[in-house]
């Protein structure tokens, strides 16, 4: 590694890293101030680039990237100090009730408590809106959207809640990315535990090259699974995918549209739900109250017999539903992304053979975070995708 541990003038380890851990934890580090400045620039420039959902200044995007790069640079300074950590300094708790547990493990648990509150607040928002707003299905089937509006597809949209599950849980193919993601995360929790197990095997009980390979492969697998998670999420949100014909299963070739292509976006204030809701009830209502439903039958010559809707199209303002969906699953996705960034560093460190039983416990700290992310997904998936 380039760079010496010490500044020329004095004995202290360099604030840029790498750090000599025989001195204890770093007394000086450039990372905090650099990361703070980077984050500040990012938030500032992002808000100057976009305003109320529209791009007002595209140069703000490049500046926002600069902010992210500066933050990342600060993070590399942090890692540079940590890369040489070999477990000589891993303090343990002295006070009850955590005696003898590594301090950083306690810190990770405490941090996860606050993260729990973040997701609780997001879930609370979701519950408040889901239970408080009328579901779109109900409004559609009651026919009130016809009765109350003078002209139907004139531009008046009803406010209602359309959960993402209406789109996603409508078929096995739609739900496939989400289901695969669930398995991916669960398996990744397993692989990270395996990485920890191999790293912790006592010296002498395993060949060091085997240890290095195993730890690096398990960490790498975790990384790959996390990447798969985010990729499938992007497919599900933006890209969509193509199903070829599988004749013996009776599957026609078709496209599974992404959520955004279906119109399920945060700006969806004139969304046209078209997923097989029950028209039959509407027909009965219309038969019972023909006077009120004349708009529904705009082009039918006679009101006897077949009541078939022609022009009737319910426009819904579903922005609240989409906002809660994308922001909650997006926050989870951001946590996965942070995990990927951490995993990148850890996989590299493992490849360099720097995990030994003495410092293996640092994999456990990440593992705790990763299990938490997995747990949140296990809650998010049924509540947002299935129900």
């Amino acid at each position: 590694m380039s760079g010496s541990y010490h500044d020329d003038e004095n004995e202290h380890p360099s604030a840029w890293g790498p750090h000599d851990w025989s001195h204890g934890a770093p007394h000086n580090s450039w990372a905090p101030i650099i990361m703070s400045i980077g984050i500040g620039i990012f938030l500032y420039t992002l808000a100057s680039a976009y305003s109320w959902g529209e791009m007002v200044d595209s140069s703000g995007i490049s500046l926002a990237f600069i902010g992210l790069i500066i933050s990342f640079f600060g993070l590399t300074v942090w890692w540079r100090q940590d890369a040489s950590f070999d477990g000589t300094y891993e303090p343990r708790a002295t006070g009850t009730p955590f005696q003898n547990i590594q301090i950083r493990k306690v810190a990770m648990w405490v941090f996860l408590m606050s993260e729990m509150m973040v997701f609780t607040a997001l879930f609370s928002t979701y519950m408040r809106y889901r239970l408080g707003l009328t579901p779109c299905v109900e409004i559609y089937e009651s026919g009130s959207w016809i009765v109350n509006s003078q002209t139907i597809d004139s531009g008046e949209a009803v406010n209602c809640f359309l959960p993402a599950s209406e789109l996603i849980a409508s078929s096995w193919f739609h739900i496939a990315p989400g289901a695969i993601n669930t398995f991916a995360l669960i398996i990744s929790s397993f692989t990270i535990v395996q990485a920890l197990r191999w790293a912790k095997k006592p010296v002498g009980s395993v060949d060091e090259e085997v240890r290095r390979k195993r730890v690096y492969r398990y960490l790498g697998s975790t990384w790959i699974l996390a990447i798969i998670f985010l990729t499938l999420k992007m497919v599900e949100w933006f890209i969509g995918f193509y199903i070829p014909e599988i004749a013996f299963l009776g599957i026609q070739e078709h496209d599974i549209a992404s959520l955004v292509n279906e119109g399920y976006t945060i700006h969806a204030d004139h969304y046209h739900p078209h997923h097989g809701w029950d028209d039959g009830h509407l027909a009965e209502l219309a038969a019972a109250n023909p006077g009120e439903f004349t708009a529904y039958f705009a082009n039918i010559a006679s009101l006897e017999g077949n009541y078939e809707p022609t022009n009737a199209v319910m426009m819904a303002d579903i922005r609240v539903s989409t906002s809660t969906f994308f922001v909650t699953t997006g926050t989870h996705g951001a946590h996965v992304l942070i995990g990927i960034i951490g995993l990148t560093y850890m996989t590299w460190k493992a490849w360099m053979g720097r995990y030994t039983p003495k410092n293996a416990v640092s994999i456990e700290y990440f593992g705790l975070y990763w299990h938490f992310v997995d747990l949140v997904w296990v809650l998010v998936f049924p509540f947002f995708y299935l129900y």
């Binding site: 620039i41 100090q81 708790a93 928002t125």
Partner: protein, 781 residues
């Protein structure tokens, strides 16, 4: 030059550049008004002005007569306008005072201070209109934009190729009026001056540490040490400096608010400016002054008090600090140019996501997000440190009460602030990418913000007061030379306050349409919070009983705290009684209450802490006489500021109103005549209070340079910080060799019945749930 130096210098240069980048929008042109067109001109007709167009205004006097009408002719020459084209030109005229009116159909009036051309009138180059002077003395400014029309592009209505220009004309009153002070100029000047003074002080202190080598080679490692340090003492000092700086800035804003409110119907600050000022005053004081001051003392004292060499996560501690100044820059964005956040520190929806709220609001939200991150990391750090790094012999029930108070405060903080963070993210996304969390037209619910905010907001105010409780416990006990009365009850009372604080937040929402049942429950629980608080106050008084009080400045401040905080608490008791809240909500009674508990509680508590711990932190004693002078002037003027506000609230003065009017025989107003006199009294006292605190600043600076050397234990305290030298060494305790700490202190106990660190039944149960790592075991969590 070695790599370290290059790194360091380039970092300094880069940070200056980035600060400049961040600051640059802040130092853009000072405002000439709210209307965008008046500032930006006829942009549709061309991006910039053109010198070949010469506008003129004829008919205005240089000094007007009251209420007289003048016939004014506006005209222009030059530009592409040519006789014979279909359209020749247009104009727009503003008058800052008086009334503009039309004489014919070629001119239209948009409002009494603004006229322009009509469709009919756009084929001329001169227009005539009327202006009526005001009935009183004002400085008038006329701004004229004239546009010389190209008359091209198929029909002559095209605006490309037009050229326009602007002039402004001033008209004076019969009796000369002084130029109105521009509040932004005042504020920005004062802030810049404060920053420069801070820089000078820092440089001077550096100079005094080593007068012989006042040069860059010595300065650079010194400043780099401060910018990169993770040592709890240095980070604590940084927090303290930042906190005091922003306390001053918040105070400046308060003074400007008080100038505006000193007389009824004042116009020193316009409504829009006032709205930004009170928003920033609140935000600065709570998030950038109170919390950093608390963190400063917590950083300094908690590791010392528990006998630990540093905090559990030193680099994260430094990160918590550095997020704050950068967050502050974001929060203050726009305040110098008139587009700062104007939502109130509570930032209610839907106003905060409406387009009428200024652009700076988005930056305010972003800055707050950074502060949320900072507080969360602080909470994690302190909780972990106190839980795991206590010295041998120090069980939970042997910790000093200040440490307990920091523990309870941080527990409340990091469990409540994520809800605020989520709310902020929702608002940020609403304003930036257009999500619909709080958009009422899409079904969004503004009460959701209220719940998320106050779920955080109420524990937050206890977060700022509980550490002050801790300080007072220490100070009174040491001054009376007794141990605190009822140590266990004090601990349980703080913990009780911490728990109950989460369920009473509804009392900020009493008027928002809650169900009566919920109102009753919140009423009862809010009143109950007074019980543990009362226990603490009685315990402090009983501590003094049969003590041997030694009066120092910190003692005076602690006794002052007891008075003002108790008064604040009692005034707070009026709000849970729902029917009374209906009158007092959003009135000056609320303002009086929270300033009594925040300033009279938190700030006085921390003044006491300054006098108490300054010798330990700097190794120099503060001047007692200056301290007593500071106490007397500040305490008396403070009460002069906030006590009359109770009365104003009862009379019906509303908060967040830029001005107020009194009822006279001729006019209906909301307040009686005395209110004006009391407001002036409050404003004068506010100035006295502000300046009295400079005595403290002077005392601190003088003592750092020339104070008497402080012993390790000047006051006779018992906790570990008094064992170390003044100032303490680095690391604060012990030595680090071969991966372990040695020579950490052990706490002895004067109560014979205590056995150090023997786990209680609850702790034993908790431990049985955990699987402890063992070198020889397989991985376990």
């Amino acid at each position: 030059m070695n790599i370290g130096k290059i790194h360091a210098r380039s970092i300094v240069v880069m940070s200056i550049l980035f600060m400049a980048l961040a600051f640059s929008p802040l130092v853009s042109s000072f405002p000439t008004g709210i209307s965008g067109v008046k500032d930006s001109g006829c942009n549709c007709h061309g991006a910039t002005t053109s010198d070949i167009v010469v506008p003129t205004i004829i008919g205005l006097p240089s000094i007007y007569n009251y209420s007289e009408s003048y016939e004014v002719t506006v005209a222009f020459t030059g530009g592409p306008s040519t006789i014979g084209n279909i359209n020749l030109g247009g104009f727009h005229l503003w008058a800052s005072e008086g009334e503009l009116s039309t004489l014919d159909a070629t001119v239209q009036q948009f409002n009494p201070s603004e006229v322009g051309h009509t469709e009919v009138g756009n084929d001329q180059t001169t227009w005539t209109l009327m202006w009526t002077a005001p009935a009183s003395d004002k400085n008038i400014e006329f701004i004229l934009h004239t546009n010389s029309v190209n008359g091209n592009a198929g029909g002559g209505a095209g605006s490309s190729g037009d050229e326009w220009n602007r002039i402004s004309v001033k008209v004076s009153a019969p009796i000369e009026v002084l130029e109105q002070a521009n509040p932004y100029v005042v504020l920005s000047t004062l802030i810049v001056i404060s920053a420069i003074l801070l820089a000078i002080t820092v440089t001077y202190i550096f100079y005094r540490t080593n007068p012989d080598s006042f040069n860059w080679e010595t300065f650079e490692p010194w400043i780099v040490e401060w910018l990169t340090s993770t040592d709890h003492k240095k980070v604590g000092t940084l927090y303290f400096l930042a906190g005091m700086f922003f306390l001053g800035i918040g105070g400046i804003m308060a003074l400007m608010i008080r100038i505006q409110l000193s007389v009824p119907g004042n116009d020193f600050l316009t409504q829009d400016q006032y709205n930004q000022f009170f928003t920033l005053h609140g935000t600065t004081m709570i998030f950038l002054a109170a919390m950093p001051l608390i963190n400063g003392f917590a950083n300094w004292m908690v590791p010392l008090q528990i006998g630990a060499p540093d905090l559990a996560l030193p680099r994260i501690n430094a990160m918590s600090f550095w997020l704050q100044p950068v967050g502050a820059l974001l929060i203050f964005t726009g305040v110098f140019s008139g587009t700062g956040a104007d939502t109130g520190w509570t930032g209610y929806a839907p106003y905060i996501v409406s387009e009428t709220a200024h652009v700076g609001t988005t930056m305010w939200v972003a800055g707050q997000l950074m502060l949320v991150a900072s507080s969360t990391l602080t909470g994690v750090n302190f909780l972990t440190t106190i839980a795991v790094m206590r010295a041998p012999g120090m069980g939970w029930m042997q910790m000093p009460l200040f440490t307990w108070s920091i523990l309870v405060a941080n527990l409340m903080l990091f469990l409540s602030i994520p809800a605020f963070g989520v709310g902020l993210v929702q608002v940020y996304l609403d304003r930036v990418i257009g999500t619909a969390f709080y958009d009422a037209s899409a079904g969004g619910d503004p009460l959701l913000w209220s719940h998320l905010f106050w779920y955080f907001g109420h524990p937050e105010v206890y977060v700022v007061i509980v550490p002050a409780f801790g300080v007072i416990s220490e100070v009174i006990a040491t001054s009376a030379r007794r141990s605190v009365f009822g140590y266990r009850s004090m601990v349980y009372a703080m913990a009780g306050i911490g728990v109950v604080s989460f369920i009473v937040y509804g009392h900020h929402m009493f008027t928002s349409g809650m169900s009566p049942t919920l109102r009753f429950v919140t009423m009862l629980t809010t009143m109950l919070v007074a019980v543990p608080t009362g226990i603490k106050i009685f315990n402090w008084l009983k501590t003094m009983h049969r003590g041997s009080l030694v009066y120092r400045t910190h003692t005076l401040w602690a006794l002052g705290f007891l008075i003002t905080f108790t008064l604040g608490g009692i005034s707070g008791m009026f709000f849970p009684s729902m029917a009374m809240d209906l009158h007092f909500h959003e009135s000056y009674f609320v303002v009086a209450h929270f300033h009594y508990v925040l300033v009279g509680g938190t700030v006085f508590g921390f003044f006491s802490a300054i006098y108490y711990w300054f010798p330990k932190m700097t190794g120099k004693m503060l001047d007692e006489r200056l301290g007593v002078l500071h106490f007397l002037t500040a305490f008396i003027s403070y009460n002069g500021v906030f006590w009359p506000m109770h009365r104003l609230g009862v009379w019906g003065m509303a908060r967040r109103h830029h001005t107020y009017f009194i009822s006279t025989e001729e006019a209906m107003g909301s307040l009686p005549i005395e209110a004006a006199g009391w407001n002036m009294f409050i404003s004068v006292s506010a100035f006295l209070f502000f300046f009295s605190n400079f005595i403290l600043i002077a005392n601190m600076i003088k003592s750092v340079i020339r104070g008497q050397k402080a012993p390790a234990d000047p006051w006779g305290g018992w906790s570990f910080e008094w064992m170390t030298s003044s100032p303490p060494p680095t690391p604060s305790f012990g030595h680090f060799h071969d991966g372990v700490w040695s020579d950490l202190p052990t706490l002895k106990d004067a109560n014979e019945d205590h056995i150090a660190n023997e786990p209680s039944a609850v702790v034993k149960w908790f431990q049985s749930l955990m699987v402890l790592d063992d070198e020889n075991e397989e991985a376990s969590h």
